[in-house]
């Protein structure tokens, strides 16, 4: 499900909620928190390699977005604007982790996979191996992979979100593919 079609009839649009919050109804901000927390937590978890770090990054980004809400030029595109705040936070956290070492739960391949019980041990193993392999990509390669294969966005949609060209994104993705193939050769056949 894409952010643009999250709004169900009878639910307020992002723009309506943003304008209400800016008018002083602070509690309405929780509508946006609930609307986007899980899907963006998944993005952050894949980018940071840790659910705990993802939750912290998401909380920081949501609070920062509230503080800067009056700078959101297009309230109906709150999701796209918020994504950039979270993205900047995640990249900053990656730079910090590069200095101090990975978070503890990264070793446990911590993104939960509730569907794995019926999917078989082999699929679970592949999923875990892929998650770990993703952590060896550059943050930029990993982001493209996550947006393409986890969020299932097209290159054009990723370009619109990140401000990169489609050609640059593909080149980055191809390098990531090559790297992943080398790391996951045991799962290839």
């Amino acid at each position: 499900m894409r952010h643009s079609d999250v709004s169900v009839r009878d639910e307020p649009s992002d723009g309506e909620v943003v304008r209400a919050v800016l008018a002083g109804d602070v509690d309405r901000y929780e509508v946006l928190v609930r609307r986007y927390r899980e899907r963006y937590a998944r993005y952050a978890a894949h980018l940071l390699g840790s659910t705990a770090a993802a939750e912290d990054a998401l909380q920081d980004a949501l609070v920062q977005a509230y503080e800067r809400l009056s700078q959101c030029r297009d309230p109906d595109n709150f999701a796209g604007w918020f994504f950039l705040i979270l993205r900047n936070g995640c990249f900053g956290e990656r730079r910090r982790l590069a200095r101090v070492g990975p978070p503890l739960d990264a070793v446990a391949a911590a993104v939960p996979a509730p569907g794995d019980a019926g999917a078989g041990a082999e699929r679970h193993e592949l999923r875990q191996a892929l998650f770990m392999a993703l952590q060896t990509l550059t943050p930029e390669q990993r982001e493209v992979f996550v947006l393409r294969h986890v969020e299932e966005l097209s290159y054009e949609e990723i370009a619109a979100r990140t401000g990169q060209t489609v050609g640059a994104l593909k080149m980055r993705m191809h390098r990531g593919y090559d790297r992943l193939r080398g790391l996951l050769r045991d799962h290839w056949g």
Binding site: Q59, A113, G163
Partner: protein, 205 residues
């Protein structure tokens, strides 16, 4: 097996080439790649049960530190009574097609609930329309049109509360032009917003 994917397989993964266009060997390679790269978990991540409460507690704490919306609204309605003019240095030539001046009018003793009259002027002789969008009008590019006068000057006067305001001019409804005479700040989308900081005395800080 090398660790590099065949360029044709890459094109299939990119959606630029149908799987059927590949030879049987490359097709098997592409199918394996789709299986492996398609394996990540797409289920929403479970967050701590108190996540919403923590975020909203932090948000409400910050809301308490902000000036209230009502106070801001009052500030908008209060016009200054006596004027003193401060003209920003105009950095000519920063923009070839457009240049701006911001003129500030205010009493030095303007109370906190008062306002500072700010005249925004943009020199844009080729423009068909010019508007002002900023934090003071929720970036509504239709809320504050500038009026054209002789010499290609567009102008509007607003009464703004003390504090920091980000803004940009919107030319012809689509081109966002920062004020060349004001400091700028990244807007998070790779563009620049201009920043105007007003004290209660109407000074640009």
């Amino acid at each position: 097996m090398t660790d590099r994917l065949d360029p044709l397989v890459m094109r299939v993964l990119d959606g630029d080439l149908p799987l059927e266009a590949l030879s049987p060997a490359l097709r098997a390679e592409a199918e394996a790649a789709r299986r492996v790269f398609g394996a990540p978990d797409r289920a929403p991540m479970a967050l701590s049960p108190d996540f919403d409460a923590r975020v909203m507690a932090a948000v409400r704490a910050r809301a308490l530190r902000r000036p209230g919306a009502a106070r801001r609204a009052v500030a908008w309605l209060v016009a200054p009574r006596e004027v003193r003019v401060v003209v920003r240095p105009w950095m000519a030539g920063v923009l070839a097609a457009a240049a701006a001046l911001v003129l500030l009018f205010a009493r030095p003793e303007t109370p906190a609930t008062g306002g500072v009259a700010v005249r925004f002027v943009l020199h844009a002789p080729e423009a068909r329309s010019v508007a002002l969008a900023g934090t003071f009008n929720h970036w509504d590019s239709g809320a504050t049109p500038l009026v054209r006068s002789e010499g290609g000057l567009w102008a509007a006067t607003l009464v703004l509360p003390a504090g920091e305001h980000e803004y940009a001019f919107v030319v012809d409804g689509e081109r966002w032009v920062p004020d060349p005479a004001a400091p700028g700040v990244d807007d998070g989308f790779g563009r620049r917003n201009s920043v105007l900081t007003l004290s209660d005395a109407g000074r640009s800080m």
